[in-house]
């Protein structure tokens, strides 16, 4: 579908960005967090996701100056919480086979933040056969490959081989997809294209496959109010060589956004303490920011960047 990006996509992104900036302190690292990070999913991963969203807003540059400033602020906050990269460095130093320091670091490198000691350490680790052979799911391996690409490390990844080992790379029967596999599929697309920066990272067969089946998957998960997944699928649409964006899908996604910018992850009530609400809804804010930003940036007339 080669329509221009719906204006509502931009509005969704801006409102979600403001909500995230307003509430980001609710996701601060607990005091005295060490590199071991007892519960990485509680704050470490969300901070990384916030940094991702902010980095893409800044990379695309389609937001108003005030919103670009908000993105800078979100990136700064996350960087400070990670002690300007020291926490990533310490974690990589202590845990040679953990890939998350590299993956988190990439969001900051995208915006020019560097940590020289971490750079040196990652360059060394990249040369270890052990690190290169680490066993993870195929779409997770793509996450590592994309992070390495951004940071400027050579892991010797063969993108075609990596692609072929994913669910999406098998050109699977579209009627078999389930909720978890849908998330995996979206991340395969995100990493192969570096979040829409390289639409040609998807081969022609996969691109055609997604153009055919994405409308169905969005419909199915819209119908049952899986807004977080719908947002992820909208990102996939924005990553295609010819972006897919159905105004009706965007209107439905925008309709569930609250006045303050919160986008509910699903049909469950949004309630609890501010901390609980932030914990439960932060991921969907990130998704909404990325989806709206990429849909706005990638107009149907824009040539592929690579």
């Amino acid at each position: 579908m080669s329509t221009a990006a719906p204006p509502v996509a931009h509005q969704v992104a801006v409102k979600a960005l403001r909500w995230l900036r307003t509430n980001q302190r609710l996701g601060a690292m607990p005091p005295n967090t060490t590199a071991d990070i007892a519960e990485p999913n509680n704050t470490y991963k969300p901070l990384s996701e916030n940094a991702l969203a902010a980095s893409l807003v800044l990379r695309e540059g389609v937001a108003e100056p005030a919103d670009l400033h908000a993105a800078e602020d979100i990136l700064d906050f996350a960087w400070r919480e990670l002690r300007a990269g020291d926490l990533l460095y310490e974690r990589a130093l202590l845990h040679t086979l953990m890939t998350d320091p590299l993956e988190v670091y990439a969001h900051f490198v995208r915006c020019g933040r560097r940590h020289p000691n971490l750079d040196q350490l990652l360059a060394h680790q990249t040369r270890l056969r052990s690190v290169r052979a680490i066993e993870v799911l195929s779409n997770r391996k793509l996450a590592i490959a994309n992070a390495a690409r951004i940071v400027g490390l050579d892991y010797g990844h063969d993108w075609d081989i990596l692609t072929a080992t994913t669910w999406l790379g098998a050109i699977p029967e579209p009627w078999t997809i389930d909720w978890m596999t849908a998330y995996h599929m979206t991340h395969t697309v995100f990493h192969l294209t570096d979040w829409g920066a390289h639409p040609n990272g998807l081969n022609a067969e996969i691109t055609s496959y997604l153009q055919t089946w994405l409308p169905v998957w969005i419909e199915v998960w819209l119908e049952i109010g899986q807004w977080d997944l719908v947002g992820e699928l909208l990102i996939v649409g924005a990553c295609l060589d010819e972006p897919y964006r159905d105004p009706e899908h965007w209107a439905a996604f925008a309709a569930v956004q609250h006045d303050d910018g919160l986008v509910p992850r699903d049909t469950e009530p949004v309630d609890g303490t501010p901390e609980q609400v932030f914990t439960e809804q932060q991921h969907t804010a990130v998704v909404a920011i990325v989806a709206g930003t990429l849909a706005t940036a990638r107009t149907s007339n824009s040539p592929s960047r690579t």
Binding site: P174, W175, P215, V216, V220
Partner: protein, 243 residues
């Protein structure tokens, strides 16, 4: 046969299922099922049986169209009687348009297999999706008129099916993911027909049909749709490059 104490709706449903079962047996070559619409029975069952004929419509002729089975004059007379008791719709709402197409197909096949000319003309227009975004409502409508998915019938509906396999595949995929297997069976039947005339389906209808058959549990009419699908696949040339 419908129970004597059943409500009219239940009686009609049971009669339709019974008739679908007889058509299915005939299609599969089960001995003794050659007379499809037998046993219209007592007064109360008579009307149910005729309603069942109208519900199944052109599906009644699937054994004749697909296997060359004989269509008995008694059956032809019963189809004609069903049209007298339940006359064709003649208005243009969407729902009635569906009924009009089904009536047209039944009338066409009745004439072909020796029955009376019922004088049912081909409905006008509304056959193709209005845009690429229209796949959802269009495929839902195609599922409703799946009894037309038989070889030898030719109409703008069939042209639209051949021209829009992706829209059919999307509707099928949506139905599968929503676990609406009766609708999925009706749409895979259309895709099998498209494949049988050399079209390329965006999903492999044989795989979907096999999957639906294993899922089972959706009644005789779905079983009939799947049996018809299998016959279409057996007679067709499946296009290359399918998923």
């Amino acid at each position: 046969m419908a129970s004597i104490n059943a409500s009219p709706e239940t009686a009609f449903t049971e009669s339709a299922d019974n008739l679908a079962g007889r058509v299915l047996d005939n299609l599969l070559g089960v001995q003794g099922a050659a007379l499809v619409i037998a046993d219209v029975g007592s007064t109360i069952d008579h009307k149910s049986a005729l309603a069942a004929v109208r519900v199944l419509g052109s599906d009644i002729f699937a054994p004749q169209v697909l296997t060359g089975a004989i269509f008995h004059p008694e059956d032809a007379a019963t189809v004609a009687a069903a049209f007298r008791v339940f006359p064709p719709a003649h208005t243009n709402t969407s729902a009635e348009s569906v009924l009009s197409w089904r009536d047209w197909a039944t009338a066409q096949l009745l004439t072909r297999y020796g029955g009376d000319d019922l004088g049912v003309g081909q409905p006008d227009g509304g056959c193709a999706p209005v845009s690429s975004r229209d796949w959802r409502s269009w495929s839902a409508r195609m599922a409703q008129i799946s009894p037309l998915a038989l070889p030898g019938l030719d109409s703008p509906i069939h042209d639209a099916a051949c021209d829009n396999p992706v829209a059919l595949g999307r509707g099928l995929t949506r139905a599968m993911l929503r676990r609406d297997y009766p609708t999925a069976a009706r749409l895979v039947r259309w895709l099998a027909l498209v494949s049988s005339v050399g079209g390329v389906s965006p999903v492999d209808p044989a795989t979907v049909a096999a999957h639906l058959k294993l899922l089972g549990g959706d009644g005789t009419r779905t079983a009939l749709d799947l049996a018809i699908t299998q016959r279409l696949l057996d007679m067709g040339q499946i296009g290359m490059g399918q998923k």
